[in-house]
């Protein structure tokens, strides 16, 4: 080729290439490739439906509308027509459509093989096994339920009762100590709180805007009483060790050392009595003289609350038309009855019992299943007493232990005896939706449908001021091999020829609705929710100052540093762990990589000689040791560190596993003086730089 030929070829080639579609098509294809990689999921198209139902994963029974696309739930949206939660959502309920298909979701029944590994089995095998184990166990059966609002519990208690066992328990919760306290003060019904009609609420220890009570309802009430840019019609005072989410919404924060709720409440009672608030009932004089010892200065010394704030709180309550005092625990379980007793006493002083915006004496949920135990009776029983007795060998270990909708291995203190009970039990069965720590320790794991996949119900949760009844309706098919737990237990009872009086879940729900006078059809077809203001005749309340006195004798916290646990629903519950879509809600002052973060104020940090970001070792009274990362936050008491609950999971999926430490590991079970209630003692810890 000569030079001319080469140039011709080069020029011709260039022109040809530019004129041909090769370059341009390649460029357009490049655009197409870069947005259509095969490994990035495509959207599924289909008909959208919006079906109202309620959450069974969120403890407050949040009412939501599930949006399904071609039958698959994709969103949960607050249900504005729900008369309880008024469209308010929680971070947990908002993540439920995704939780439904999360990697931790159980897909098939699992049986533990002799080598310890799980083997997937069919439902037929599982049911046969279940029946066989139950028959073998005879009356030596125990069961625990983590879902106190569901009527599925009645089916379980009926089965146990008919097999001759009375070992059915609820997981420890917020209501158990409250029920003890209310009864001690003479209450005959169930303790309720009419928060939305109160004009001034003092919440001591109870994070009412994040985790206490019917939190979605509390938040919607907060919304309605706090108009945007307007004047609030309700004051909220919050006492807690940390400026948590509730404190952020409160008008006044009372920085209170963990475990000093009693003293604070007695101090408030004293100030109110001095201010002339002396609602009469038997025992007033004795209570007043007992409370008189709790002068603002003394209370300030015990609790750490500045005198001025204590007085401001008392003044706000005294001046309010419809004040309401609520006591509760930061953890939501393992709390004491004592503070609730004093809270009731203060409400009595203020005339806030069975009055709009006050405490409500409500009827307990009623059982409709034949041979079932009444809710109130179950509420009186203490699971931890049972497990500790089994662990100590004082009670015979059950031949069969059934764990329903609960994760006690994670959510109870290490010395609760749960671990021992599980290992001593002849056979253990977990009925759950997610692969929890407890599931991993059981012999048989049965995948349960979620609330949005099966019939279930939400009977008045604790914290409500009204009787409410909502149905969970199946808006989608159960995920993979999950099955309705209610139907499973009913079928089991039928297999065993036990009498329930109901043949399936819809009938059970119908009977409940009927008993309450609720419109079952509308609830079933439209997702309507029933509410009723059902106040009982006033209970003969009295100031049980002796009970208060003995509860007040509880030991104070020890150790150099107090731990203030924080519960946030974004972290899920013990049953769900952290929902995949909530990991980003977990803040950098709660979790850092694989370490829990301990918040402390700069004075505490200086005392411990730590800087933000340093690793510190916390050693609890029970010798449990955890390593955490320090963060500086001024909204916390001196000598106190806060740790968020819901971390430290060893089961579930990558979204929860191996992140931080379980704050419950630092607690141990104590007994409250007087009531004998098992309470989670958050004894102080020793802290040092790691």
């Amino acid at each position: 080729m000569d030079r001319r030929g080469f140039l011709k070829f080069a020029a011709g080639g260039t022109v040809g290439l530019v004129a041909s579609p090769i370059i341009w098509n390649t460029l357009y294809d490049a655009v197409y490739w870069t947005q259509n990689w095969g490994w990035i999921p495509r959207l599924k198209k289909g008909e959208s439906e919006y079906i109202p139902t309620v959450s069974k994963l969120c403890p407050s029974g949040t009412g939501f509308v599930v949006r399904t696309v071609a039958g698959t739930p994709v969103r949960t949206i607050g249900d504005k027509n729900n008369p309880v939660t008024h469209g308010a959502m929680t971070a947990l309920a908002a993540a439920e459509a995704e939780l439904r298909v999360s990697p931790a979701r159980l897909k098939t029944p699992l049986r533990r093989s002799p080598d310890g590994a799980y083997v997937a089995i069919t439902w037929t095998e599982a049911e046969t096994l279940l029946k066989q184990k139950l028959q073998e166990a005879g009356s030596s059966v125990a069961a625990v339920s983590g879902d106190p609002t569901s009527s599925i519990n009645e089916v379980l208690t009926s089965i146990l009762n008919q097999r001759g066992s009375s070992d059915f328990y609820f997981m420890p919760d917020e209501e158990q100590p409250a029920a003890v306290a209310w009864e001690a003060m003479g209450g005959q019904g169930r303790l309720g709180y009419d928060m939305e009609n109160s004009d001034c609420i003092l919440a001591v220890g109870a994070p009412v805007l994040e985790s206490w009570g019917v939190v979605a309802a509390n938040r919607s009430a907060f919304n309605r009483t706090h108009p945007v840019a307007g004047e609030p019609t309700q004051k909220l005072l919050y006492a807690g060790a940390l400026q948590n989410n509730t404190a952020a919404g409160a008008d006044l924060w009372l920085p209170m050392k963990p475990g000093t709720d009693m003293a604070l409440l007695l101090g408030v009672a004293h100030l109110l009595i001095k201010a002339g608030k002396q609602g009469f009932a038997a025992g007033l004089a004795n209570f007043a003289s007992f409370a008189a010892a709790y002068t603002p200065e003394k209370v300030s010394g015990i609790t750490g609350v500045p005198v001025a704030r204590l007085e401001a709180a008392a003044k706000a309550l005294a001046e309010a038309k419809k004040p309401l005092v609520i006591a509760g625990s930061a953890l939501g379980a393992g709390g004491s009855a004592g503070p609730v007793m004093v809270a009731v006493a203060i409400n009595m002083l203020l005339g806030s019992v069975n009055r709009e915006g006050g405490l409500v004496d409500m009827p307990f949920p009623v059982s409709v299943v034949a041979h079932a135990t009444e809710y109130r009776e179950t509420m009186r029983k203490r699971f931890v007493n049972y497990t500790q007795a089994v662990a100590a060998g004082k009670t015979k270990a059950p031949a069969l232990l059934l764990v329903y909708a609960a994760n006690p291995l994670y959510s109870l203190p290490a010395d609760s005896g749960m671990k021992e009970t599980l290992s001593k039990a002849g056979y253990s069965i977990a009925v759950a939706s997610f692969m929890s720590e407890t599931c991993e320790a059981c012999d048989l794991v049965l995948p349960a449908a979620l609330g949005m996949e099966a019939f279930d119900d939400v009977q008045t949760p604790y914290g409500s001021g009204r009787v409410t009844y909502a149905l969970a309706r199946p808006v989608a098919k159960p995920f993979a091999g999950a099955r309705s737990a209610g139907e499973l237990f009913i079928a089991l009872a039928q297999e065993l020829d036990l009498e329930l009086g109901v043949k399936d879940m819809p009938e059970l729900l119908y009977k409940h609705a009927y008993a309450l006078g609720a419109p079952f059809r509308a609830m079933m077809d439209e997702g309507r929710v029933f509410t009723a203001k059902t106040a009982l005749p006033a209970s003969p309340l009295f100031y049980n100052w002796e009970a208060i006195r003995s509860a007040a004798s509880a030991r104070g916290a020890e150790g150099d540093i107090q731990v203030a646990p924080v519960v946030v629903l974004g972290m899920g519950t013990a049953q769900t762990a952290i929902p995949p879509f909530a990991t980003k809600v977990v803040t950098d002052y709660q979790l850092k990589g694989k370490y829990s973060v301990a918040q402390m104020n700069s004075a505490t940090a200086a005392k411990l000689k730590v800087n933000a970001g340093d690793h510190i070792r916390l050693v609890a009274g029970n010798n449990v040791e955890i390593t955490v990362v320090a963060a500086i936050f001024e909204g916390i008491l001196p000598d106190t560190v806060s740790l968020v609950a819901g971390l430290g999971h060893t089961a579930f999926d990558q979204f929860s596993k191996g992140k931080g430490s379980n704050v419950l590991a630092l607690t141990s079970v104590c007994r409250e003086p007087g009531t004998g209630l098992p309470v989670w003692g958050l004894a102080g810890v020793k802290a040092a730089r790691a």
Binding site: R3, L27, A30, V31, W33, T34
Partner: protein, 415 residues
């Protein structure tokens, strides 16, 4: 064949000695290993995504952008020397202009390599031409840099063609000659393009009115940083060329460019440095005392802790003021080590400038409730920068060995 000479001696420039091929191969192998390490990082980044780097949502720009800006500024010797040589006809510069062009070529192609890694969707890189946003300084940068890169290739090609053996072919000889004839045009286009994108690179930062650390007022559509970048590039570019030349001399043990030429380059850069230093200090002064206050901020708030402390700010300024003064004093600038040191300080200051604008400018939290976060480049970012270093060193070594890059070399080394 003369066995006393390396086997590839026939390829060497006329009258120049080179080391043995074995030694050269050894040197190239060392560079090759570094190159492969960088290539591994690049493959990971392209294969898995930019998550392989140490960058994050707060530091969307990091080492790579700093590197790009620095090498583009330091590579400015190519266009500036070229313009002076071919347009203003300063003839002595012909002795170093080849090197300047090769450095420019290497800096720009290197920067392009890094940019391919740095953008999240390299396959879409041509969108800048297809869907241009004429308001964006970056659009201008994309236009000018790619065009200028082509110009640099055109400036580099004739040098390759001038290889002794290649030149023996009549076609190549004619081609090389033609290239030389048109060189002033390339130089002119290059000067225009390069001035603009150097400026636009600075403008990219100055227009960010959401970033008080970076935002500057300016003239017409160009913020002051536009002009500062041009000035800093034309002052440091020639200096960097001299430094590279000197480094090559030390490594090869041969004199490549005469001291006079180097001094001339220093004079060129130094003159520009005076202009730059004056304007840079005025700009910093106005920014610190006036501009920030208008946004409710103080000078102190722009700095934090050790890594984002004020020392970098003072160092950046000191490293241009000191060379400016020292280079003005004849007895000092005539001492080689002082001369080279001052050149180095200037280049360092320009690099610090590019770093603080890129990293500290993003680190400074604008929302009062936001925090300072720190950024540290990870191995993948370092490795890919070393990829470019290795690439540049290899090309430069080849160019030195086989092309008549230094017209004075034979003369200066005559025994």
């Amino acid at each position: 064949m003369d066995y006393s000479k390396p086997v590839d001696a026939e390829l060497f420039p006329e009258g120049c000695e080179r080391c043995s091929l074995t030694k050269f191969t050894g040197w190239m192998s060392i560079l090759g290993v570094i190159f492969l390490w960088g290539l591994y990082a690049a493959v990971r980044v392209l294969g898995f995504g930019l998550g392989e780097t140490g960058m994050d949502d707060y530091f969307g720009f990091g080492l790579w952008i700093t590197f790009d800006l620095a090498v583009i500024a330091l590579g400015a010797g190519a266009f500036f020397t070229g313009a002076l040589r071919y347009i203003l006809n300063i003839d002595e510069l012909k002795n170093i202009v080849n090197l300047a062009a090769v450095i420019g070529f290497l800096c720009y192609t290197g920067a392009m390599m890094i940019l391919v890694l740095d953008i999240g969707q390299p396959i879409r890189c041509w969108f800048g031409y297809w869907y241009p946003n004429v308001h964006s300084m970056l659009t201008e940068v994309i236009f000018c840099i790619t065009c200028y890169c082509i110009v640099l290739i055109l400036e580099f090609v004739p040098l390759v063609l001038e290889n002794r053996q290649l030149m023996k072919r009549p076609f190549i000889h004619a081609l090389a000659h033609n290239f030389h004839v048109y060189m002033p045009i390339f130089a002119g286009i290059g000067a225009f393009l390069s001035t603009f994108h150097q400026g636009s690179l600075g403008g990219m930062y100055g227009v960010l009115f959401g970033r008080p650390y970076l935002f500057r007022e300016g003239f017409f559509i160009w913020p002051w940083t536009f002009f500062l970048f041009v000035l800093s590039a034309v002052s440091s570019g020639p200096m960097f060329t001299v430094l590279v030349c000197t480094l090559m001399e030390k490594m090869s043990g041969r004199k490549l460019v005469s001291w006079d030429v180097k001094q001339l380059m220093g004079k060129v850069g130094g003159t520009m440095l005076i202009v730059y230093t004056v304007f840079k200090c005025l700009d910093s002064w106005y920014w610190a005392t006036d501009l920030l206050a208008g946004q409710g901020l103080t000078f102190d708030q722009m700095f934090h802790g050790w890594i984002y402390g004020k020392w970098l700010f003072w160092m950046e300024h000191a490293f241009i003021i000191i060379p400016m003064v020292v280079l003005l004093i004849k007895p000092l600038r005539e001492k080689p080590w002082i001369f080279y040191l001052m050149l180095f300080l200037t280049c360092a200051s320009i690099t610090i400038n590019r770093y603080v604008l890129t990293v500290q400018g993003l680190a400074q939290p604008v929302m009062p409730f936001d925090s300072w976060y720190s950024y540290a480049p990870n191995w993948a970012e370092w490795a890919s920068c070393f990829l470019v270093f290795a690439y540049a060193a290899m090309v430069l070594s080849l160019a030195y060995r086989y092309t008549p890059m230094f017209p004075q070399e034979a003369e200066l080394n005559r025994k």
